[in-house]
C-alpha cells in the first residue's frame, strides 16, 4: 500500500502523473443505478421493437425446422451438392457460425487475462452470442452426415460392429473441440451469471424470485465465496484462452490436413483464428450497437468500447488480409503446379473469382476505414463496416470450401456448384434461430454483467475514499 508521502502526488490512480483515463462508466453512475438500469430490462415490459424483431425471427426459425424435416424425410439430395463438391453451404455455414462464436470467449477469457477492464460491459452479451452461434453451427455438420439418426456415431462409443471412431481423423478432433468449447463456454457463462441471478432474485417477486433464486444457487456474495469464485473465474479464463485458439485451429485442420489444392496449407490455423475473432467482433458490434441505443445503455457501453472493438476488427482484418496475400505468394513461390492452378483459378480465371473479390473487399479493404478516429466514433459508419465484415466472412468460407473442391485434380469432373433453395432456407433459418434465442436472452437474463461493471467503478476501489480524503486534506493545506 502506498504510504502518505507517495500518495500525495497521485490522488487516484486514474489521475496519476496527469494521465486521465476515460472512465469506463460515464456520468458518475452509482451502484444502484447500474443495478436498476440493467435489471430493469428484464423486469419491465419489452419495447415494441422487441416484438417486431422477435416474431419474424421465430418465423424464420420455423423455416429452418421445415427445411430440416424436408431434408431428413427426403434425403441429402435436396441439397445442391454433387461430386466433387461434397462440402457446400452446410460446411460454409458451420465454419461461419463457429467463427462468430469466438468473440465471446475471447472477450471473457483473453481480455480478462490481459486485464482489459472495458470487457465487463460487453462480455455477458457476447458470451451469450457465442453459445447461440455454436448451437447454430452444430446443426449443419449434424445434418451434413446425411442420416441424422446415425449422428451418435460421432460419440466415443463403438458402433454396432464394435468398431471405434478413428481418433486420427481431424473430423473427430473437430467433434471434441466444438463440443468441449460449447460446454466450457456454458460453464464460464453460468459462473459469471450466478451473482447477477442473485441480484434478480433479491429484487424479484413471486415466480421470478423462485426461478432466479433456483439458478442463483443461494449465492450470498460473501468474501469467503468471492475469494474462491474469483479463482474459479481466473482458472476458467486460463483454460478458455488456449481452448478458443484451439477450436478454430482444429476446424482448419479439417481442410489443412487434406490434400486438396487450396486447402493444404500450413497458414490455415492462425489465419482461421484471426478470421474468427474478426468475424466474431463484427457480430458483437452488430448486436451491441442497436441494444445500447434501444435500452439506453450509452453510459455503460461507451464510445470507448466501440472504439476498442473497432481497433480489434482493424487489427484482425489486417492479419486476415496478410494471410490472403501470403497464401497467394506461397502458391507462386512453392511452384507446385496444382496449388498454383488452384489459386490462379481462384483469383483470375475460375468461375468463382467474383466471390474472391467480394471477400477481399469486405474483409481487407472496408475495415481500413477504422484507421480514422471519426470512423470509429461514427456509429452508423461502424455499423455499416461491421456488416461488410459479416458478409465478407461468409464469403471467405465460401471461397475456401466449394471453390477449391469445384476444381480438383481431374478436369473431367469440374463443375459449378450453386446452392439449392433448401440450403438457402436453412441458412436464413439459422439466422432466425440466432436472433430468436438472442432476443429470449435479452428478455430473461441481464445482458451486462452487473457485478463486474460495479467492480470497475472508481469508488469500488477500497482505497478510493482514502484518496479522496487525502485530496481534500491536501487542498485544505494548500489554502
Amino acid at each position: 500500500m502506498a504510504d502518505t508521502n507517495t500518495a500525495n502526488t497521485a490522488v487516484h490512480p486514474t489521475e496519476a502523473e496527469g494521465v486521465v483515463r476515460e472512465p469506463l462508466v460515464l456520468n458518475n453512475r452509482s451502484l444502484g443505478w447500474i443495478t436498476e438500469r440493467i435489471c430493469g430490462i428484464v423486469e419491465n415490459r419489452q419495447p415494441f421493437i422487441w416484438w417486431v424483431l422477435f416474431v419474424p425471427s421465430v418465423l424464420l426459425f420455423l423455416c429452418l425446422v421445415f427445411s430440416l424435416v424436408y431434408l431428413v424425410s427426403t434425403g441429402v439430395g435436396v441439397w445442391g451438392m454433387n461430386h466433387p463438391v461434397a462440402w457446400g453451404w452446410d460446411i460454409v455455414n458451420f465454419v461461419f457460425w463457429i467463427g462468430i462464436g469466438h468473440a465471446g470467449t475471447l472477450i471473457s477469457a483473453i481480455l480478462f487475462l490481459t486485464r482489459q477492464k472495458w470487457r465487463t460491459s460487453v462480455n455477458r452479451a457476447s458470451e451469450a452470442m457465442t453459445l447461440i452461434a455454436v448451437m447454430c453451427a452444430g446443426i449443419f455438420p449434424g445434418f451434413h452426415v446425411g442420416r441424422f439418426w446415425m449422428v451418435w456415431f460421432l460419440a466415443p462409443v463403438p458402433n454396432s460392429n464394435a468398431i471405434w471412431q478413428n481418433f486420427k481423423s481431424p473430423l473427430l478432433w473437430d467433434v471434441f473441440a466444438v463440443s468441449t468449447y460449447f460446454i466450457v463456454s456454458v460453464i464460464f457463462w453460468y459462473i459469471g451469471l450466478i451473482p447477477d441471478l442473485a441480484t434478480l432474485r433479491d429484487r424479484g417477486k413471486g415466480i421470478a424470485k423462485k426461478l432466479y433464486g433456483f439458478f442463483a444457487l443461494g449465492w450470498r456474495g460473501g468474501n469467503r465465496q468471492w475469494h474462491h469464485y474469483e479463482m474459479a473465474y481466473l482458472i476458467l479464463a486460463a483454460l478458455s484462452t488456449p481452448l478458443v485458439l484451439s477450436v478454430h485451429s482444429v476446424v482448419s485442420f479439417d481442410f489443412a490436413t487434406s490434400v486438396v489444392p487450396g486447402w493444404h496449407t500450413t497458414i490455415f490455423p492462425p489465419y482461421f483464428v484471426a478470421g474468427a475473432i474478426f468475424g466474431g467482433f463484427a457480430m458483437v458490434l452488430t448486436l451491441m450497437l442497436p441494444i445500447r441505443k434501444l435500452y439506453g445503455l450509452e453510459d455503460l457501453i461507451t464510445g470507448k468500447h466501440v472504439d476498442n472493438m473497432a481497433k480489434i476488427i482493424l487489427l484482425t482484418g489486417t492479419i486476415v488480409g496478410y494471410a490472403y496475400i501470403m497464401e497467394l505468394f506461397i502458391s507462386y513461390y512453392a511452384a507446385n503446379k496444382f496449388e498454383g492452378d488452384a489459386f490462379h483459378m481462384r483469383i483470375l480465371s475460375g468461375p468463382y473469382t467474383w466471390a474472391y473479390y467480394c471477400m477481399f473487399f469486405c474483409n481487407v479493404i472496408a475495415p481500413q476505414v477504422f484507421w480514422f478516429h471519426w470512423a470509429r466514433h461514427n456509429l452508423w459508419m461502424v455499423f455499416i463496416i461491421v456488416n461488410f465484415v459479416n458478409f465478407g466472412m461468409w464469403f471467405e468460407r465460401f471461397v475456401i470450401i466449394p471453390t477449391s473442391l469445384a476444381r480438383d485434380f481431374l478436369p473431367g469432373q469440374w463443375g459449378y456448384y450453386s446452392a439449392s433453395w433448401v440450403e438457402k432456407l436453412m441458412f436464413a433459418g439459422s439466422f432466425g434461430m440466432f436472433f430468436m434465442l438472442f432476443l429470449i436472452f435479452i428478455r430473461f437474463l441481464p445482458i451486462i454483467a452487473v457485478s463486474e461493471v460495479k467492480g470497475v467503478l472508481p469508488e469500488s476501489d477500497p482505497h478510493y475514499h482514502d484518496w479522496k480524503r487525502l485530496r481534500e486534506k491536501r487542498r485544505g493545506a494548500g489554502k
Binding site: 471434441f176 459462473i191 456474495g221 479463482m231
Partner: protein
C-alpha cells in the same frame, strides 16, 4: 422476522452495514485483528484486496482443477491408445498403429484435459463455497438483501468463540457500522 422475541440460542449473528468499500475494508482489518473467525463481508462485487484485509490465504481451488486436468489427459490417452492401438487397430492415412501415432492423438487429449479441468473448476467451486444452498438464515434479514445491489455488509456469526452479544455489537459500532440488524435462525 422479529428481533425482539429472540433468545441468544436462536441468534445467528449480526448484519452490519457500512457506507463504502473503503469503510468496509478498514473495518474488516479491525475484525481480523480482533481475532474473529466466523465472519464474512458481503458485497455486490469482489473487493480488491479484501482477502488480505480478512486474512484469507490463496484459494486452493487450483489443486482440484489440476487433478481434473490430469484425469482428463489420462482418460483421453487411454481411450485413444486402447481403442486405436490395442483393441481394434485401424490403419488409416498411413499412420502407425503403435506409440508413434501419439501426435495424431494430441488434439483430443488437449480438449479432454480442458473439459475435465473446467468441470473440476465448476464442481470444485460449488463444493468449496458450499452451494447450492437455497435456505440460509441470512435470507431472513431484510438488510442482507442489499448486498446484491449496493450494500457493503459485514456478518459476524454467534458461533464465533469470540462472539459476545453486547460486546460484538459495540465493536461493530466502534468500527463504523451504520445499521446493525440481529438475524435469527
Amino acid at each position: 422476522m422479529s428481533n425482539t422475541t429472540s433468545s441468544s440460542s436462536e441468534l445467528f449473528g449480526y448484519v452490519a452495514e457500512f457506507s463504502s468499500a473503503t469503510d468496509l475494508y478498514h473495518a474488516a482489518e479491525k475484525v481480523r485483528d480482533a481475532g474473529f473467525r466466523r465472519w464474512d463481508v458481503h458485497t455486490p462485487y469482489p473487493i480488491h484486496g479484501m482477502d488480505h484485509a480478512m486474512g484469507l490465504g490463496k484459494s486452493w481451488l487450483s489443486a482440484i482443477v489440476l487433478v481434473g486436468g490430469i484425469t482428463g489427459s489420462s482418460v483421453a490417452l487411454f481411450l485413444q491408445f486402447f481403442t486405436q492401438v490395442s483393441l481394434y487397430p485401424t490403419v488409416v492415412q498411413d499412420k502407425p498403429i503403435n506409440v508413434f501415432t501419439l501426435p495424431a492423438f494430441f488434439p483430443v487429449t488437449f480438449e479432454l484435459t480442458i473439459l475435465l479441468a473446467a468441470f473440476a473448476t465448476l464442481f470444485g467451486l460449488l463444493s468449496i463455497i458450499m452451494l447450492p444452498r437455497w435456505n440460509h438464515p441470512l435470507f431472513n434479514s431484510s438488510l442482507f438483501s442489499k448486498f446484491s445491489n449496493d450494500g457493503f455488509l459485514m456478518v459476524i456469526e454467534s458461533r464465533d468463540p469470540k462472539f459476545k452479544r453486547e460486546k460484538t455489537k459495540e465493536l461493530l459500532e466502534e468500527i463504523g457500522a451504520g445499521k446493525i440488524e440481529e438475524v435469527n435462525y
